[in-house]
């Protein structure tokens, strides 16, 4: 018999604390679609994705209704298109992106990820074509997301690729200038990219994965915040170790929800279940914010001294709770700090409590990186590449995933407001130190070597 408390607390999480399954992401392996004939390639991709994803949305809606938990987004992640379309030119890969967009619309998913290249150690012909295709591919489509892994702890940082990504970001922004450079919101540059991320824009199906797999992303910053608030209300003397326990228990509950839904959707579609990724992923709604958690922990705002320690505590507790709840935890699993997507962080940026330097510091302990940060439109491609290089180095040296999703907003300057809409939110444009001056460091290119794995002090 269930207790009244168990039932009502679950309803509270769902109705007032924004607990949801943020995404069910179907991974589809496209590697055997590869070939030299562009038309055949496009047809095979279309057929393969339609075959696996035809019932995805219906299954998610059915399971969501059964458990009373909304599956907010349904998404697809495919094999790296740089490998699938290795024989194609950059303009042909833009056509491939359009096929991905069309099939995504047909099966009614929100986003399709996997317009991806893995170039941490070197850039193959197909990788170069894909990187060159990214700006037009993203500007010409609505649902396609791109990611490029330019660094890893084992390989180091490919600075040639970093500079190319600086250029690609600037061009993507330019092509979508009337929408504040929104194409850049669909582009992530990674170090140590996981193969099974269900969240966009970084989702792709890793080379080591099966033909099809269901990965689930659960969120719930509001649930964590309310759990902390309730705990402090009943005992205002809780220390940080005790608060960590509260977060762990909450993360456990949220992860269990994700695994239950994910396994059932996978069973329904007769596709193997992959991982559940518990990431505190905010939305621009009140009560669904990671930034608000810092205030519950006693900080004036995210960004003030103490924030890095608080985020370290939060991220670690989320991972520990998730790892206890499921043996299939993967993806990014931790806390996101996307500026424009989080009302509270966006407000902290507007008030000057947080800037690019503090955000970079935070990425040493958060689960991803510099995320959804609007920069002045005149920030040079070199400076963007340099910001990316800084961010990659944090991931490479600390053996963790880091990423950069930067938006140089055309025609706007620091302090202006950039509007992206929907889940992408809006943000004050953050100044970049020396952003419009030359930076010859990143033009030297080459590979920053992989770090030594001993003497880790």
């Amino acid at each position: 018999m269930l207790t009244q408390r168990e039932i009502l607390s679950t309803l509270e999480m769902l109705q007032n604390e924004h607990l949801d399954v943020r995404t069910v992401t179907l991974g589809v392996n496209l590697l055997d679609c590869a070939g030299h004939d562009i038309e055949k390639l496009k047809n095979r991709i279309h057929t393969r994705i339609s075959h696996f994803a035809g019932n995805l949305v219906a299954a998610c809606n059915h399971i969501g209704q059964k458990y009373g938990i909304p599956v907010v987004n349904k998404r697809i992640a495919v094999s790296p298109i740089s490998a699938v379309g290795a024989a194609m030119s950059s303009s042909q890969l833009v056509d491939v992106a359009q096929v991905l967009d069309e099939v995504a619309a047909e099966v009614d998913v929100d986003f399709i990820g996997g317009f991806t290249a893995l170039v941490e150690k070197g850039i193959a012909r197909g990788d170069m074509a894909l990187i060159e295709a990214i700006p037009h591919a993203l500007a010409n489509t609505d649902r396609v997301c791109a990611s490029v892994n330019v660094a890893s702890t084992k390989a180091g940082i490919n600075m040639d690729a970093v500079l190319l990504m600086g250029k690609a970001i600037k061009q993507a922004a330019h092509l979508t200038a009337k929408d504040d450079g929104i194409a850049c919101a669909k582009l992530c540059v990674f170090a140590n990219i996981p193969q099974d991320i269900p969240f966009m824009a970084g989702a792709y199906l890793g080379i080591g994965e099966a033909d099809a797999v269901i990965n689930v992303g659960v969120s719930g910053p509001g649930v964590v915040k309310n759990a902390i608030d309730r705990a402090l209300e009943s005992d205002s003397d809780l220390d940080l170790g005790q608060i960590s326990d509260v977060i762990k228990k909450t993360a456990y509950k949220v992860t269990r929800v994700g695994e239950l839904i994910g396994r059932e959707v996978a069973d329904h579609l007769n596709i193997r279940f992959g991982v559940v990724d518990l990431s505190l992923a905010p939305t621009p709604n009140v009560g669904d914010s990671v930034g608000e958690i810092f205030q519950s922990l006693g900080l004036l705002s995210i960004g003030v001294p103490g924030t890095t320690a608080a985020l370290a505590l939060l991220n670690d507790a989320v991972k520990k709770g998730g790892a206890f709840a499921s043996s299939r935890v993967g993806g990014l699993s931790g806390a996101f700090i996307p500026v424009s997507e989080d009302l509270n962080i966006s407000e902290a940026a507007r008030k000057g409590y947080i800037g690019l330097e503090k955000l970079e510091a935070l990425t040493a302990v958060c689960s991803v990186g510099l995320d959804m940060i609007a920069l002045p439109g005149d920030t040079t491609e070199e400076t963007i590449a340099a910001v990316i290089a800084d961010e990659m180095s944090i991931g490479v040296i600390n053996n963790k995933t880091t990423a950069a999703r930067l938006i140089p907003v055309p025609g706007k300057k620091a302090g202006d407001n950039a509007y992206f809409g929907g889940l992408l939110g809006q943000s004050t444009i953050i100044p970049v130190n020396n952003g419009d001056n030359p930076n010859s460091f990143v033009r030297r290119g080459g590979l920053i070597p992989a770090p030594i794995q001993s003497l880790t002090n």
Binding site: M1, L2, Q4, I7, L8, T10, M13, L14, G68, E259
Partner: protein, 184 residues
């Protein structure tokens, strides 16, 4: 050896279970199942017991009333032979239906009628009505077994329609979600 159901009802106080079990022990009865609850200030307990062949229900009833009457408790005994157990429990899916809304007459009747119409079996019902218009003060929680032959979409539809008529917020969720969240 025969079986009986013993129900005890009355104002809650300390020592009720001790008093009942003392009489049963003295009469050489064996408690097989017991469930008790307290609604506001009222104790309600149900015992399934096995009785020795030389003990009549009337005799046990007398002994219990002698012991429990002074405590203000009502006693009722029913021999179990008159109740047939199902041959085998039917396969079903377990759902939890929760409602909140302003208090009025007919809420339980309204919701349970729909559940019964769709062959749902209410296995547990917790309802608290403090009265008034505050939805949080008036809550019903039904645990319901729904057979596979039931059209679940139609059941959802009818429950939501009835809830709207009664001005109730209703949630219908498979039981597993609560197990997943709260049980290790």
């Amino acid at each position: 050896m025969s079986k009986a159901i013993l129900s005890i009802l009355g104002q809650d106080r300390r020592g009720i279970i001790a008093a009942v079990s003392k009489v049963l022990y003295e009469q050489n009865c064996n408690i097989e199942n017991v469930s008790q609850t307290t609604l506001q200030f009222v104790f309600a307990g149900v015992f399934i017991i096995s009785m020795p062949g030389d003990l009549s229900p009337e005799s046990l009833d007398q002994r219990l009333k002698a012991e429990l009457g002074p405590l203000g408790l009502d006693v009722h005994i029913t021999m179990l032979e008159s109740i047939t157990a199902p041959v085998s429990p039917p396969q079903s899916e377990s759902y939890v239906i929760t409602t909140k809304g302003p208090d009025r007459k007919g809420l339980v009747a309204g919701i349970s009628e729909v559940i019964a119409r769709f062959d749902g079996n209410i296995t547990n019902l917790q309802a608290v009505f403090k009265g008034g218009e505050d939805p949080g003060d008036n809550i019903m929680i039904y645990e319901v077994d729904v057979p596979p032959r039931t059209d679940q979409q139609a059941l959802y539809r009818e429950l939501k329609k009835r809830a709207a008529e009664l001005k109730l917020d209703i949630n219908i969720q498979h039981r597993n979600i609560f197990e997943a969240i709260h049980r290790i």
